[in-house]
Symmetry: C2
């Protein structure tokens, strides 16, 4: 192929989400956080997502046991905590305390909603699939917790107010300008407004 | 929870990739494109990703038959084509011709590499899992095709040159400023440079 170079296969999908997965029940299993970029939406109805985690990680055993977790979408100002929670282990430190983050039980799951994150997806595990270095957790999204300041005066979610983080090739990014909405390429331009 | 509102579960993971999935073999099965945002990395080794597609889509049958596809990462300037390929069906039109896009066979798969996309992941299907409205295609990433202009003078991929698209809550975005790299939160600040 002209002007193309070919590399061996690797995990180059980008940009991808970078989320704080919350686990534990805050009771006999202390809350923990793990940063995950191997995450994706997998089904619209039922609403489902996947997160992939290495079996040697502390959160893996917790999630296998409780079969519940939260997916907390961080804003840009949480980038340093997101990075930290991907580097250190919950075996060695209380990541909530270390990062100054606060947890509350979800409404549908006992896993922790990170109160500082603008959006949290509460998830119930349906199935795990061992793939190699990572095991995929397939889960149903049972509830969404939203910072009330994200809701506009028409009651709709204004996602830009969440100031979300993206991940690409080992780097964290904010989102840039909005280019269009789904369907904009085929939408007829509105005609002049006729007032009656 | 204070200052939080709770919604029923829905597909609110964000930001997520928005990719042109290429299928067909350019021989007895004409090439087609389908835009997919339900995509994610699922394993590091072997390098694997998932894309989820509704069974009623034209590409679904093609991918089930050929068991190969490409995941083409579009740049910002392709946003209109990306949107168009998610709205119209390949049963009704040749999306490559309509969007002015050009295909070439991959090196590891016969599915089409979209030459205008800066990065293409060539994928071989390992497993499909019917989840509800969508079926998840789990695939191994066998090769990466990169626009040679993305490679810096040290031979490394400079992802910012790809000017990738992200998707969040029904809208397309460019990437904004780089905030840090993986591990930056625990990296010791370099001391003053001592010249010898």
């Amino acid at each position: 192929m002209k002007n193309k170079i070919v590399w061996p296969g690797s995990t180059q999908l980008a940009p991808i989400p970078v989320v704080l997965v919350g686990c534990g029940n805050g009771d006999d299993i202390p809350y923990n956080l793990i940063t995950v970029a191997w995450a994706g939406t997998v089904c619209s109805d039922p609403a489902m997502l996947s997160v992939s985690i290495r079996p040697e990680r502390h959160s893996y055993g917790i999630m296998m046991k409780t079969r519940e977790f939260t997916v907390n979408l961080p804003s840009r100002k949480l980038a340093r905590s997101v990075d930290f929670c991907g580097v250190v282990s919950g075996r060695d430190c209380d990541k909530f305390a270390k990062c100054g983050l606060h947890a509350e039980k979800g409404t549908e799951v006992t896993a922790p909603v990170v109160l500082e994150c603008p959006i949290t997806l509460e998830c119930k595990l349906k199935e795990t699939i061992a793939l190699g270095t990572h095991t995929m957790f397939l889960a149903e999204i049972c509830a969404i917790d939203l910072d009330s300041r994200l809701i506009d005066d028409k009651g709709r979610l204004d996602i830009e107010r969440a100031d979300l983080l993206a991940y690409a090739h080992g780097h964290y990014y904010g989102l840039g300008e909005c280019i269009g909405h789904f369907g904009y390429s085929v939408r007829k331009k509105p005609g002049p407004v006729v007032r009656k």
